[in-house]
């Protein structure tokens, strides 16, 4: 699971086309309300996929299904070839134990709209906590790496600050560093800039652009059309729990085919 390099040059046939994220017919209901009605999605390694859609269309829910924060009711999701949340044995699906689910989540980073930093820990400890606890790294090594990551997101001088002492943009950058500390092969962003004052959006987007440039596979729920156009490799437009339209972001934004996409883009542009 670790150290597997994506896209091996002389791999078995078909290996290079294996997507990092592959979802098929994902259905999810809360009680009697079906929120996801059969989502199909493929995201290649190194690709930045932007997820757009009106409020309540199921974007967050789908993202949370990818790291099994929500259990799906039908369909399947694979990340780097591995089935999420279930194990296939003898042609049957077995639910994973809590420990196994936790192990799968380690390679999937997630960034939340409301940051969800741990308020009782410094920025440095927020980033170093999971590597020491989960990856069993030495405390000193983990802190060193955490400091380097915070440096990378431009917070090298805020290591000892508590989340309450940081601006929203700074908090979100700590949250990104915290996710990166687990060396994920996939990053999920759920409206990472929606809770920020407009003048702070840029600093977070810059960090994300940097990540994209370094080849991180990312799924980004966002209303930042500019970001989608500039950084996105693909754009997926969801509405009412289904994928309405997808394609190259620049083409979809310039020339949406579907009426609902047109209506939505007209509102956010």
């Amino acid at each position: 699971m670790t150290g597997v390099k994506v896209l091996p040059q002389a791999g078995p046939p078909g290996a290079e086309s294996r997507p990092m994220v592959h979802a098929e017919q994902v259905h999810k209901s809360f009680g009697s309300i079906e929120v996801l009605k059969g989502i199909d999605l493929q995201v290649r390694a190194g690709e930045v996929c932007c997820l757009l859609g009106p409020s309540g269309s199921g974007k967050s829910t789908f993202l949370r299904c990818i790291n099994h924060l929500e259990k799906i009711n039908a369909g399947w999701i694979r990340v780097d070839g591995e089935l999420i949340g279930y194990r296939e044995r003898g042609g049957k699906l077995h639910e994973m134990r809590e420990k196994e689910v936790a192990a799968q989540r380690r390679s999937i980073g997630m960034v939340f709209q409301r940051f969800n930093l741990f308020p009782h820990m410094t920025a440095l400890d927020n980033v170093a906590e999971a590597p020491t606890l989960v990856r069993r790294e030495k405390k000193s090594a983990a802190r060193e790496r955490a400091a380097a990551l915070l440096e990378r997101v431009g917070l090298g001088d805020k290591l000892g600050n508590y989340p309450g002492q940081l601006s929203g943009g700074q908090q979100q950058r700590v949250a990104i560093a915290r996710a990166l500390a687990m060396k994920p092969k996939l990053m999920l962003f759920d409206e990472p800039t929606s809770a920020l004052d407009p003048e702070l959006v840029g600093e977070v987007l810059d960090v994300m652009k940097d990540l994209a440039r370094d080849g991180m596979t990312m799924i980004v729920v966002t209303h930042e059309i500019g970001f989608a156009r500039e950084v996105g490799d693909s754009l997926v437009f969801m509405d009412g729990g289904v994928v309405v339209e997808q394609g190259n972001p620049r083409e979809v934004i310039a020339d949406p085919k579907h009426d609902r996409t047109k209506a939505f883009l007209a509102k956010v542009l």
């Binding site: 790291n67 924060l69 809590e98 420990k99 936790a102 192990a103 799968q104 989540r105 380690r106 999937i108 980073g109 997630m110 939340f112 409301r114 969800n116 930093l117 741990f118 308020p119 009782h120 820990m121 906590e129 999971a130 606890l133 989960v134 600050n161 508590y162 309450g164 002492q165 949250a175 915290r178 996710a179 687990m182």
Partner: protein, 325 residues
């Protein structure tokens, strides 16, 4: 003030000099209370039943001091049991396993329904159920009989109930187990006060449920848990007097009562008990005041307060996990 800054050329107005409202009622109250206090003090000094010199002679004697130490030890031990078990029961109560939830509900129900005095007497007399308490294979005799072996026993070790359930241990269990039921409710409220997003963020990082509870949720819940725990500790200190009826002899109230009974001077000894509990409780109240002051500071966004808050959280968190181990 805003007027001032907008129009600096205008002169600052004279400070208001108004006649303040008079409060004749207050003066009346002061007079009434003053008379009552004077009457009370007069009674304290002149009424022979207080027998002050006798009381002061007796209340610092070694057996009483031993009782005092016993009371403090009992408070600490019962609270440790109460807090540790309370955390376990709170976590069971919030678990997804319906059996664990049920068990914790029944536990809380039972120990909150039965008065502590009754519990204390009950635990003090558990020796009636078993003369010896032994650990080993459950139902060993019945299993032996099933295979035709007479008097088959698989016991590892045992104690005489009299040795194990000394008054002190019985009292400690009665108070500690009952306290756990109340602490469980407090801890549950604390855990539920922590934002759901905290758990989700930790889950997304791959932490297991136990790790999330220990490292993320409980340290944050402490802010809500600590103040009522201070109240519980004070209440516990007072409730230790109940075990005098088990009876537990290494306990403050028992000792004071004993002196009173022996010398036919019960009333002065009850007054002595009053004074001792006042002193002990006041010490705890001071401690609680500083603890709560620390925690109320952390609520704002001020940075230094957060740093201090963390210090306490780390300490108490460490204490709780030590008790866990």
């Amino acid at each position: 003030m805003s007027l001032d800054t907008e129009t600096p050329e205008r002169a600052r107005p004279e400070p208001i000099q108004a006649v303040p409202v008079r409060h004749p009622g207050r003066w009346l109250a002061v007079a009434v209370i003053g008379v009552l206090v004077a009457m009370f003090v007069h009674m304290l000094v002149t009424n022979k039943a207080f027998n002050w010199s006798f009381m002061i002679d007796e209340m610092f004697r070694p057996p009483i001091m031993a009782g005092l130490r016993g009371t403090i030890a009992l408070t600490i031990c019962s609270m440790l049991i109460g807090i540790t078990l309370g955390i376990v029961i709170a976590i069971m109560r919030l678990s997804e396993n319906p059996i664990l939830r049920g068990v914790s509900w029944v536990y809380t129900w039972f120990f909150r329904a039965v008065p502590r005095l009754v519990l204390a007497l009950l635990f003090g007399n558990l020796g009636i159920l078993w003369s010896r308490i032994e650990f080993g294979l459950p139902f060993d005799r019945q299993i032996g009989a099933l295979f035709g072996v007479q008097d088959f026993e698989a016991r590892l070790f045992g104690f005489s109930a009299m040795d194990l359930l000394t008054g002190f241990v019985a009292g400690m269990l009665a108070l500690g187990l009952s306290e756990a039921a109340y602490m469980a409710e407090i801890v549950r409220a604390g855990i539920q006060s922590v934002d759901e997003g905290q758990t989700e963020a930790a889950q997304a990082l791959g932490l297991t449920r136990g790790q999330i509870m220990r490292r993320i949720v409980l340290p944050q819940a402490m802010r809500v848990i600590i103040p009522p725990t201070g109240n519980e500790t004070i209440a516990m200190l007072k409730d230790t007097a109940l075990v005098a009826f088990i009876p537990v002899s290494t306990e403050l109230f028992f000792q004071l009562k004993a002196v009173g009974a022996r010398t036919f001077q019960l009333f002065p000894m009850y007054v002595a008990a009053c004074l001792w509990y006042l002193v002990l409780t006041s010490v705890l109240l001071v401690g609680q005041y500083y603890l709560e002051r620390h925690f109320s500071k952390g609520v704002g966004r001020s940075g230094r307060a957060k740093v201090k808050l963390r210090g306490i959280v780390a300490e108490t968190g460490g204490g709780a996990s030590k008790a866990d181990a």
